[in-house]
Symmetry: C2
Subunit: 208 residues, 2 copies
């Protein structure tokens, strides 16, 4: 939302907003499938059925478009995860969350990886603003996981001395690393295995 409009404070009619949204949607799909670097503006134009002047009317250039894509993907992922994790308070709930992610990724045999993670690795070293936005999104996502862990703690399913933040970091790393290994192997098994190991660790903390 912050970097949403390139020409800050400009008026934006409903028609304009629609065009802008179509551009972002097309760019999001293309960049997920082909990668950011391999996606050209002409392809985005063709896919969204919009002319070049429109693109430069709404965005300062490719970098700005990429940032808009990051915002868009980020919103979607965070909303999805908020719905999936917002009310989870048991280990079983976490396992169901794991199942959903793994099954979803299995549909593509692991290809393309995590929508947010792929953007992050490709963009982080080239665009400081984009990197910051992505970093914040990961923090938010991790916060949702930490919330689940705190609720586990409250219900006694996790000892009070466990650091929920560190466990959330470890769980997120297992998830992202799992995505990456699955993408490279074209097989979701390593992703399932790595999340399972993280969950087993969390579970084991209350059995000692």
């Amino acid at each position: 939302m912050t970097t949403a409009d390139s020409h800050n404070g400009r008026r934006l009619t409903a028609r304009g907003a629609k065009t802008r949204a179509r551009i972002v949607a097309a760019a999001t799909d293309l960049m997920y499938i082909k990668g950011v670097g391999a996606t050209t503006l002409d392809e985005v134009l063709a896919a969204s059925g919009v002319s070049k002047s429109q693109l430069y009317h709404h965005f300062d250039g490719k970098d700005a478009l990429v940032r808009a894509v990051i915002d868009h993907v980020g919103e979607r992922v965070i909303e999805r995860e908020r719905e999936a994790l917002g009310h989870v308070s048991t280990i079983r709930g976490l396992r169901r969350w794991r199942d959903a992610l793994v099954q979803n990724n299995a549909l593509r045999h692991g290809a393309y990886g995590c929508a947010l993670g792929s953007l992050a690795t490709e963009v982080s070293d080239h665009d400081a603003l984009a990197r910051q936005a992505l970093s914040q999104l990961f923090t938010e996502w991790q916060g949702l996981l930490a919330g689940v862990l705190r609720r586990l703690q409250d219900s006694g399913a996790l000892p009070p001395e466990a650091s929920t933040d560190q466990l959330a970091t470890g769980l997120m790393a297992a998830l992202q690393g799992g995505y990456m290994l699955a993408q490279t192997a074209r097989d979701v098994t390593p992703m399932a295995t790595s999340i399972d190991m993280a969950l087993a660790h969390i579970e084991s903390l209350s059995e000692r």
Copy 2:
């Protein structure tokens, strides 16, 4: 080694081998820093001080060069890890291995991530051969970790019913996910945290 020479079976003089190596070395550095997609052949030429005909003499094109880079990076990483892990047989040894990786990554504040992992995410979905090579390299790397875990098992530091292969997968995912989070945050802390969690889990298996 397999995809090493583009024009298979051609003679290769010492001079030619040197030129080829210079091209690969320059391409490796550039692609690590700038990314594969953002690295142009002209840049590789300039950095290696070689003319275009040489590049096309030794490689069929950019894809072939990328595969040579993967082979080169893979060899380096595997050799490094073989030296670091080949004789490790204690949890303490694993922790020292962790320290070395974290400290090394801290020098860049996490930037660029894992040499192999970055290549994997960027190339896996576009070049099937490259993906396979990377997948094999990850398997080899994981095998080294599994070897350590088997030695732990032999010495009684890990129960015999533990699946060393699955634990190695989880450890590798924690490492790669940690690299990614560190790269996005420009801070190695999450990498350290995630590997620590994986190691803590491994350690905890013998204390129950």
